[in-house]
Amino acid sequence: MKLFAQLCSWLKWIVKRSHLETGMEAEVCFHIESYAEDLVRNGVPQPEALRRARIQFGAIESHKDAIRASQGLRLWDELWADLGFGVRMLRQSPGSRSSRLHLSRWASERTQQFSLWQKRPCSILCRCRIQTNSGSWPGPRTTDP
């Protein structure tokens, strides 16, 4: 039942991504503005209240990233980014060995990640994060213990 709910939620995010991203933005803005209004009611001047509300909310983008990660979207986003990179490389030099090699490496890595995802979702998320931070593609070829 839980798996079914997760699958439905994931599909909803994939299909209605821009709509849900707009909703997430609106929700965050509402929170900040409401908190600023609370501060104004307590005697804080409007611009200062908004500034304080933004600071106390924390880094908006990092919260939004955490939300996306909680929906399992990080893996999906990386998959598309990697595929796009591979296709661009193939377009630039269609017959080159390196572009074919990159695509085959991409395919094998992603297959491995998806199979690991089934067993240990947390470990694979950590691994993806490390790969993103390193800024390299296809990233370090580490294996889980």
Partner: protein, 83 residues
């Protein structure tokens, strides 16, 4: 957030934005549901509510927490003579 802080007797300080990833995760797991509505000041706002699966999960987690807390308390109560 304000309510949680009040309930904890101002002991618990939660960063304003931190509940959102948790709320979205719970919704993703099918434990809570959300819907857009109108706030008290007539603005568009999102409301979350606990659904049946979430209530069951809460009951189970509460039970686990109480068991663990009781276990730790009984260990801490043990005197040197009892060991």
């Amino acid at each position: 957030l304000l309510r949680i802080q009040q309930i904890s007797g101002e002991q618990l300080q939660i960063q304003q934005g931190s509940p959102y990833p948790a709320l979205y995760r719970l919704e993703h797991q099918g434990l809570i549901a959300s819907e857009w509505g109108e706030s008290e000041n007539k603005r568009k706002a999102k409301f979350y509510r606990l659904i049946a699966a979430g209530r069951r999960q809460l009951q189970s987690e509460t039970q686990k927490w109480n068991n663990m807390a009781a276990l730790v308390a009984s260990i801490l109560r043990t005197t040197s003579e009892e060991i």
